[in-house]
Every structure is written in structure tokens, then in C-alpha cells.
Symmetry: C2
Subunit: 399 residues, 2 copies
């Protein structure tokens, strides 16, 4: 039977990864979240004709003057009278432009004393003035539902006074590690044991994808312990991640426990290297991912399948990492019978170097990569200079 | 006098932005931080000859068998005897490969029962075995000083048992907003007032750059209040960010207060649009940024100058956002007399669209951008298809 393709596996996961329900959040805690309802502008933006420069508010019809300085208006202040022909008002950035004026000339283009100002260059009507409502009208949508709250959008929500907002709830997630060979971070492993590095990798990937990791623990290779850990996790979370226990020989116990808890399999195994043993299932809206035990396999399928699912649950409209074509800087061996995600060092605008790592166990080799190159199956050797599709881990580019 | 160039301003800031001292952190709180000391491998990785697949451990010299199955070794277990010629041991991924065998054949390439196994394909010596120490030797550097703790490096630190690590301390930062036109998020602005959106934008940018924002407040436009707020902030932080109060007319008060508190100016004004009024100074190792009051100006210079400084203080070796060349999707007007950072929508591998925003006050227009296009000064109109340098905000690409 042909293995499931990467695209088909992605489609089946994304079909079940539906954005979670809205919740109310203080704006101060909403960074990076996805807005669940349009936020409207509470008044025109700017709310008044706003000076964009420090200088003199004038009527453009008056030409270069000299004009009589009749007052000063600081930011936050106002000039209450109407400015007459031949008059000017000293004004600061952010202040309301007085009635009777239609432009601001910056200090640098004037000569002035306390009584009079002469412009060294004339002004156009509206110059250095942001007209009331020119950015947004009262009642217009300031930030639309579905928008991710970047810094600038947070600022915009500040400007319309959205102290609380409706955002898509962050997925709650549990990570259960299986395997008697695993010990905790602080423990000394026995001769046949290793520390549970997969939990460190997948926990961080999930948090960065917007999930709240509410439960992280190791489970003994024992049916009753496994089943009760799964049941306990499914009581609490939207997404259950199991690491280990999905390869050919030892999936029986985990699979039986999942079935007994009402989890239906969607697929087991994908046509990808590394990471073929990936298992995916669901119980209603709850998603269950079984990641392979080999650390690089686990990290790759978490990046390719799990992270986009979490971003989608959190409401992202573009949940996938960006991809670019980059020229290969040195030749690389051809691929085998599966599409391959090869650890790589990408330099945007320059090229990509594929790393010759020790395979699906070689976490040290993998950790020096900042990207994954996507190589098609059964491809002959890649020549230097060929364009390679690269999946970018934006954070890792900062080095 | 010629304005300071962007490159020169960057160089002066980076010369003063020296990585902070190391501190001890639990690994569980070190995500995204920069390692301040090499972490060595506490034992060979893998610590034993490790099976990479579920299957049978065999001697490659035995060919395809049939071989007698003399035992089973689960992950975390061990096979204590030496396997003789003609024998095989059933083995699980992650288990130690028994003495006397040198390869693992996966189940799929065997026919077997409890007593005997026949390989349907021969194995090469070492096939599906990760040799002890093949990834890292005991005592070798697992993660070097200066490395940013990505997911994979966190996993690697887990695998070597680094429960606590030395990381570069995160910069502590204060944001003081000046301007009587500003009101708090939850307050109703008067007719000449606006809410303090700059604090929302710059606070989020600083947090995402790795800073700990320990103080955020608005300061009245009054010399004694301003000076005491500055003094109080400088008692607590590595970086002081002032927003507003740096344009031509109203810098006097802030500048006097800074001087009185021992802050030396490094530069005031940069040849950039928007954001020319940027002020930068220092008091010893403490850095002080005065951001302009116009919201787009403030956001742009925070991205271009402040964020890289914070990343550098936090130890980053590549503190600047990545830049790429992208073809322009539609023609755009030429630039004036200053290099211009134009809000843009970038699609990696496709192109860039420059946004015709309402200028340095137009936060709504700016918020729909996911990148800044870098346009040289005094350039005639840009044709569709021309390559434009674009500064990528990795987070914003996810949409």
C-alpha cells in the first residue's frame, strides 16, 4: 500500500484543526494572538486635523508672509479662536491645527520671532496636516477578525481604546513521553538509557506555535499507566502529543490505549524522511499526534505537521512556515524513495547549504541547522547552484 | 550639517550595545536566550551503539540467514550475552545493539517467527545502527557559547542533562511616554488628545526582541516630573526608551533632564524617513533611545535601531532582521531627499508591494504591512519588476 503523501497528511490534519472558540483577553496579554471579532474605530483617526511637524499653522492662501504670530498650541492643547488672514499660530507635532489655517510650515523653513514669522518656502494646502478621519473613520474596522496581533496592530488597538479584545483561545496541550529508556533532565541515565530530549524540542516548538503546554510528563511502558495518562491528558487538553511508541514494534500498547479512550486513527505513517512513523488521530475536536522517538524525526514532523495545526487552532490564516527557493551552495547526494526534509543552513538572498548529518538520531547535527530543505523523492544528485525549496524557521535566522 | 547616515547611527549604537553579563537560568526558562558558556557533552552521544529501527540485530557476516532468535531487547533494556554467529536478537528503536552484532534489519525486510528470522535483504555493516560517540564525544562542546537557544538546541541541552545553563542576561527596559496629548488605554481622550499607542507598539517590539519591560508609564510635560521619572527609570534598567518629546520644538525639557541625570548624547537625528528625530545617548553602559512621537516614525526607528540593540545586549550574534531582494509588483513613486523605509507587503519568493500610506502618522496603513522596503534617497520612480531590498519581520509573515 502506498504511503500517505505529505500533502494528503497535511490536508487531513488541517481539516480537523478548526480555530478554537473566542475568549476575552486584556490587550496587554494578547500579543501574537489572533483577533476573533472586528474591532471598530471609536472615533475618527486622527480625531482632529493633526499637525505632523513642529512649526507654524498658517493659511496657505497667505503665501510666505510675514504673518503675525497670535498664539501657540502645544500637543494636547487647542487654539480656540479662528485664525484670521495674515495670522499664524506656533504649533507642536500632534496638536490640533486651528480653524482658519490649512497647513503647517516646519520651523526649519521659517524665520521667526515672538511676534512675526516669515516662511522661507510657501506651503501647499494641507501640507504637514493629517486631516481628521483621513486614516480611519469612526465606526470603520480598525483591526479585522482573523488578524494576528503584531506590534503595529497592538498599537492600533491601543489607539482605539480596545483595553480588552476577543481573541481565538490558545490551544491547551499535553506532551506524554513514552519509553522506558527515557529519564528526566536532572537524572543520571543508566547505561541503556537517555534523557528525554524530545520533550524539550517539542515543548518549545509547541509554545512558540502559540500553545499552552499544561501537562508534560513521562509515562512508563505499561498498558495501565499509559491508558490512565492518556485519559487524564484528554480530560484537560485540545491537543495530545505522544513522543515515542509509534514505530512498528511498539505501537500496539499506545494504539490500544488510544482506541480504548475513544481516539480514532486518521493515519499512521507518511511518505516523508525522516518521520515516517507519524501517527495522527482525533477524538471529536481533540487532536492526537504520535511523534517518532528518534529525535530528528520527531522534530521534523513536529515542524511540518504539528506546528501548523497548533497555529490553525489558534486562528492563524497562514499557519505554514514561509518557503523560499535558494540556490544550493555545494552539491548534495541524491534522495532515496521518500521526500526528504534535510537540515540546512539558509542565508536569505544568498543560498542554502545542506548538512550531511548522521540521520534521524543526530540531534547535534540537526541543531546547527536553521532551515529544512525539501528534497523530492528519487532525485539524482543535486548540483551546486540548483534552486532548492527551503522551509524557513524565522526565529532561527537570527542565529 | 549633513544628517547622520543610517549605517553610522547603527554603528554608534552597536558600539555601545555590549552583551550583558551571564546569569544562571533553569533550562526550562532559557528558550530564545543566548548561551553564555559552552555546554559540554557529559557522555558519548549516542551513549551506546543504538538501534535506529525496530527489527533484528544481526551480524552482517551472517548474510540473510535463517538465524536463530535468541532474545529480545527493548528500548531501555540490554542483552547481556554476546550474540554468536547464526543468531539474531529482536530489537526496538533506541535499544543498545548487542555485542556480537553490527547491524539492524528492520522488520519490514524480514520474515520471522518466535524462533527464527530470515532477512529478505542483506544488511551492510553498521546499517541502522548509530555508533556510540558518532554524534558527539564525551567532553566535546554540545552547544557553544553565543548560540541562541532554538528548539533543537534546547533538546540537545536536555540530552546532555544541562538542567541549568549560563545565559546572557535579558536587558531590563523602561518606556516613558511624554506628551500632555496622551491618555491611557482605558481612558476617554479629550478633544485634543489621543491614546498612547506608541507604548503598545514599542513595548511589544522590545519584548519580542528579548527585553524585560520592567517599567511603562506616561510622564506629564513638566520638567520636575520628567526628571524624576528619568532618574527613577535609570535606577532600574539597562535601556530607557522615551517616546515623544524629541522633535525640534519640545526636546529642550527632555534633553535637559537627561543631561542633568548624566546621560550623554551620542546623536540626535538620522538621515531616514520616517523617524529623522531619533535621539540616542548613554550613561555608561545604559542606553537611552528617544523615539519620535508620530506612531509610524516611532515604530520604524524602533525596528531599525532599538530592536537590534536589544538583541545584541541579550547576546545575539546576528541582531539584525534578515533582508531579501524581492521584485516590485507594482510601480511606486520616487523618493525624496532621505532614505525611506516604506511599509510593504512581502511574499517571499514572489514579490513585494509597497503601500501608499498616509505617512508617519498613519498607523492603520502601517499595520497592514508585514515588511519594510528600504528605498534609497533621491531615486526616480521605481518600475514594476525592479528588485527592492526588504527587511523581513519574520513573525508578521505568518499573517
Amino acid at each position: 500500500m502506498a504511503l500517505l503523501s505529505i500533502d494528503e497528511a497535511t490536508a487531513r490534519i488541517q481539516a480537523l484543526a478548526v480555530p478554537l472558540e473566542p475568549e476575552t483577553s486584556a490587550l496587554s496579554h494578547a500579543a501574537g494572538r489572533v483577533l476573533a471579532a472586528d474591532v471598530a474605530c471609536d472615533r475618527d483617526q486622527p480625531p482632529f486635523d493633526r499637525a505632523m511637524m513642529d512649526g507654524f499653522a498658517v493659511s496657505s492662501a497667505d503665501g510666505v508672509g510675514p504673518l503675525r504670530v497670535v498664539g501657540i498650541v502645544p500637543a494636547g492643547g487647542a487654539y480656540d479662536a479662528v485664525v484670521a488672514g495674515g495670522e499664524a499660530v506656533r504649533i507642536m507635532t500632534g496638536a490640533p491645527v486651528p480653524a482658519g489655517t490649512d497647513a503647517v510650515q516646519m520651523f526649519e523653513n521659517t524665520t521667526w520671532d515672538d511676534d512675526h514669522v516669515t516662511l522661507t518656502a510657501p506651503v501647499r494646502p494641507g501640507e504637514n496636516v493629517a486631516r481628521r478621519g483621513s486614516e480611519l473613520r469612526e465606526g470603520a474596522v480598525a483591526v479585522p477578525s482573523g488578524a494576528r496581533l503584531t506590534s503595529a496592530r497592538l498599537g492600533l488597538l491601543w489607539s482605539v481604546g480596545a483595553a480588552t479584545v476577543q481573541v481565538v483561545r490558545a490551544p491547551r496541550l499535553a506532551i506524554l513521553s513514552t519509553g522506558d529508556e527515557l529519564v528526566e533532565l536532572a537524572d543520571r541515565p543508566g547505561p541503556s538509557q537517555i534523557r528525554d530530549s524530545n520533550r524539550g524540542v517539542s515543548g518549545d516548538l509547541c509554545r512558540r506555535a502559540g500553545a499552552e503546554v499544561v501537562l508534560e510528563r513521562r509515562v512508563a511502558d505499561d498498558p495501565s499507566a499509559t491508558r490512565s495518562a492518556i485519559a487524564d491528558a484528554l480530560d484537560q487538553v485540545d491537543v495530545l502529543v505522544l513522543t515515542g511508541g509509534v514505530s512498528a514494534g511498539d505501537f500496539d500498547v499506545v494504539g490500544q490505549c488510544l482506541r480504548a479512550e475513544g481516539v480514532e486513527v486518521v493515519f499512521h505513517k507518511v511518505d516523508i524522511r525522516p518521520g515516517k512513523p507519524l501517527w495522527f488521530g482525533h477524538r471529536g475536536a481533540q487532536l492526537v499526534f504520535g511523534l517518532p522517538g528518534n529525535p530528528v524525526s520527531s522534530a521534523v514532523v513536529a515542524r511540518v505537521f504539528l506546528v501548523p495545526a497548533l497555529r490553525r487552532l489558534a486562528g492563524a490564516q497562514r499557519p505554514h512556515d514561509p518557503r523560499v527557493l535558494l540556490p544550493l551552495r555545494a552539491p548534495f547526494r541524491g534522495t532515496g524513495d521518500r521526500p526528504t526534509y534535510q537540515p540546512a543552513i539558509a542565508e536569505l538572498g544568498v543560498g542554502v547549504t545542506l548538512l550531511r548529518t548522521g540521520g534521524s538520531g543526530d540531534l547535534p547535527g540537526f541543531a546547527s541547522a536553521n532551515a529544512l530543505a525539501i528534497l523530492p523523492a528519487r532525485h539524482p544528485d543535486f548540483d551546486a547552484g540548483s534552486d532548492i525549496e527551503v522551509m524557513i524557521d524565522a526565529e532561527a535566522l537570527l542565529g
